[in-house]
Amino acid sequence: MLKVVSPGLLTTVQDDGRTGYQSRGVPVCGAMDRYALFAANILVGNDMNEPALEITALGPTLEFESANIFALAGGRFAAALDGAPLKPGRAYAAARGSVLTVGAAEDGFRAYVAVAGGLDAERVMGSAATCIAAGFGGYMGRALQTGDRIGMKAPRAWMSGMTRRETKLRYSAEPDIRVIMGPQDDLFSQRGKDIFLGSEYRLSGDCDRMGYRLDGRDIEYSPGNDGNIVSDGVAMGSVQVPSGKPIIMMADRQTIGGYAKIACVISADLPLLAQKRPGDSIRFREVSVMQAQESWRRLVRALRALEEDIAAEDIW
């Protein structure tokens, strides 16, 4: 078991989300930064979407009640194992009784702790993602608290190829977040669209797993329109504009939305957003669906290459 000595700011069990139930009103939830989740799992030899712990801003302190291999990937946190500083993006062996202190984020905002063999988490509707709003999935449907003990399905004291279990997660340093316009971009004036794509927006203090509220210039609607629409489906990264200011829908978003969506952040750039903190600035840049899908393919190819590299047999 993994014992929670202190829970950190918001630590939840997440995999890559609950798919197939949105038509029943069930939110997808899952990792805010899938790139980091996948990488953490690959480093410890798991399936990419095995449940891991999502860490936010200030991480937990965890005691390994059984020895196991683990990896921390995502933003750079001031992490240490039994007091010895850890490098992000690398697998380590924890002995029985070892204490992992994840610490505060130094660069970026979120990270994932994956353990070899995966976490023994509550699967609901096929996913171990925590649905905080409805209280199910993951660990008791809630964020971790002091004293919680989470099972590890197949802990192991050692793994082969430990020197290969390392990667540099290179997040783009550009403030650009790429978007696909629509589906309700026609409810905005050309001036409104120009403002949206030409201005700097800042993450307000009101940013969480449900959505990011942004500060910046108001986005103008086309004549006769306001931010209201007849409710329709939304996607992660959808940029709703209820009354001038943009709100980006994130992992815990509701399945249906009643506000005009000017654009949607592309899948490959959602990890960048997940690593932004309140106060950070971003700019939106339009790309085509084809470019967006090619970017996602490139991201997944890089992860598969890492997976192959780790699994490769040693020559000597």
Partner: protein, 235 residues
């Protein structure tokens, strides 16, 4: 790319990011438009397209979520445009009728009195109007199992509470403006609660929901005793 198929079709296709596409059938709320949505939902489900991960119906649109690694945007549009949704008209119109037992007023409907007062009628009249209508479930959303119902008599429309309640029990039947609905899970909220049903709208373990888009629904008044019996049998 131009979606040429849509010229002859009854919908427009709009990308909703790189992993979803929305079929837009119109911009209003009507049973006819919703039938189009449900028809295409059935057609797509039958087509069993590899790469489509979710079909999310709404008032007058259908959002198709997909895995861009398995299906490109162009390929998906091609598959959608190649469908014949009219084939599924029968499925959409012979939709199930769900009867929902409700114990109105008293401890289960703390706001029935205020709704009656606001609407200038007796509590019995509110109950009669609420339970006389046949409602259409347009879609589920907002929270797991929550049905967006259409067809409530406007004479019993009442504004939301000024101060929302900290906790509304699961099964609570409420009115907010011209809408009526049922809370599937206990949650805070501002709807005026006029009654409660012992039925479970959502079961997390199985993912089953009582309601589905396109379903018809009627509320049936039951007594406190009947409520207790039903509640015992549901558990």
């Amino acid at each position: 790319m131009r979606d040429e198929g849509a010229v002859m079709k009854k919908y427009k296709l709009r990308p909703c990011g790189d992993s979803a596409v929305t079929m837009v059938f119109g911009s209003g709320i009507s049973p006819e438009l919703n039938r189009e949505v449900v028809r295409c939902l059935h057609a797509l489900r039958r087509a069993d397209v590899r790469g489509i991960t979710e079909l999310v119906p709404a008032y007058c649109s259908l959002t198709v979520h997909y895995d861009p690694l398995l299906l490109s945007y162009e390929e998906l549009c091609g598959r959608i445009n190649g469908l014949d949704c009219a084939e599924h008209a029968a499925e959409a119109s012979s939709a199930e009728l769900l009867t929902v037992p409700v114990c109105y007023g008293g401890q289960y409907g703390p706001d029935l009195a205020s709704v009656a007062e606001l609407c200038g009628m007796s509590e019995a009249e509110v109950v009669a109007l609420h339970s006389a209508a046949e409602y259409l479930v347009y879609m589920l959303g907002f929270m797991p199992g929550f049905p967006y119902l259409g067809g409530m008599d406007e004479r019993i429309a009442a504004p939301r509470l000024e101060t929302p309640r900290v906790r509304i029990e699961a099964g609570s039947v409420g009115i907010a403006g011209k809408q009526t609905g049922i809370y599937p899970l206990a949650s805070p909220g501002g709807w005026r609660i006029i009654g409660r049903t012992p039925l479970r709208l959502f079961d997390a373990a199985s993912g089953e929901t009582l309601c589905r888009a396109g379903m018809r629904l009627r509320f049936v008044p039951v007594s406190v005793e009947e409520f207790a019996e039903l509640e015992a049998s549901v558990c």
